[in-house]
Symmetry: C2
Subunit: 139 residues, 2 copies
DNA sequence: GTATGTGCAAACTTTTTGCACTTCG
DNA sequence: CGAAGTGCAAAAAGTTTGCACATAC
């Protein structure tokens, strides 16, 4: 992933381009396993040993509210982040913390079709996410 | 919900029946809005003013690992619990912390059918949960 | 130059832990 | 009675906050 592209994403959102923001955005992309704030912190510390933990949290918040990254829903009280913005789903391992992205355009269509005919009273659906819980083959 | 039924559920799992466990199990059922540990604590404190916060966490853990209740996946670092065990989905409000249960047998069938034809390489799906994110009509 | 962002440390919130005491079966 | 559960208080883990200093634009 090109650094210039990352910088442009910040600019497009009207955000100031700081080395910390670029580094954190890059880290979330690179650490493609839905990293925690801690993992991101460790990762960017290698390049910028003086970045503060608090800054990581603040920047992650900023990136989330500007829709440059997303939070991943988990059963844990530790937040995890995802750099992929397009509509996709997640595979959750029952036996570990592993979470993988899952893309299935056909599935999206099937679900979309279902909800085209079936409205939910009192609720307007804006986004649909699937959580597929199971086991990865360890081979 | 009958207390005797709740007690039996504990017995069936080989768990000792304590007043705290029964009260917490009942609280999760009664507080049907996917309560936090804190809400459960407050609720049962009315009846048992000497129950400890730590006990609530321990009991919730026990109930979850014995599949008497479930954790609800959220984007927050506060855990929430669900007493409904049958296969269902959740409606998440974008603007608040409101989470509602959503039952749709037809949808389950559509999804089941989709995955009957389409295997995910390297992953065995055991359970599918949908998160429907959007807005509740405030009327 | 000025508004905005960062580093640091302290505080806060949620959850976990250890251990003496109590209770269930 | 003995194994398992609870209460309490302290600690850990994760996150937020306030403020002086630094930096982007």
């Amino acid at each position: 992933m090109n650094i210039t592209i990352l910088k442009n994403r910040l600019v497009e959102k009207g955000l100031r381009v700081t080395p910390q923001r670029v580094a954190i955005l890059e880290a979330v992309e690179r650490l493609h396993n839905h990293p925690t704030a801690e993992k991101i912190f460790e990762y960017i510390r290698k390049k910028f040993p003086n970045v503060a933990e608090g800054t990581v949290y603040k920047v992650l918040d900023t990136l989330v509210s500007n829709q440059l990254i997303r939070k991943v829903n988990t059963e844990k009280d530790i937040m995890r982040y995802d750099a992929i913005l397009e509509n996709h789903h997640h595979l959750y391992c029952r036996e570990s913390d592993r979470i993988e992205d899952y893309f299935d355009e056909e599935l999206n269509k099937v679900i979309e079709k279902h909800f085209k005919n079936k409205m939910i009273p009192g609720f307007k659906v804006e986004e649909i996410r699937l959580q597929l819980i199971g086991k990865f083959n360890t081979r």
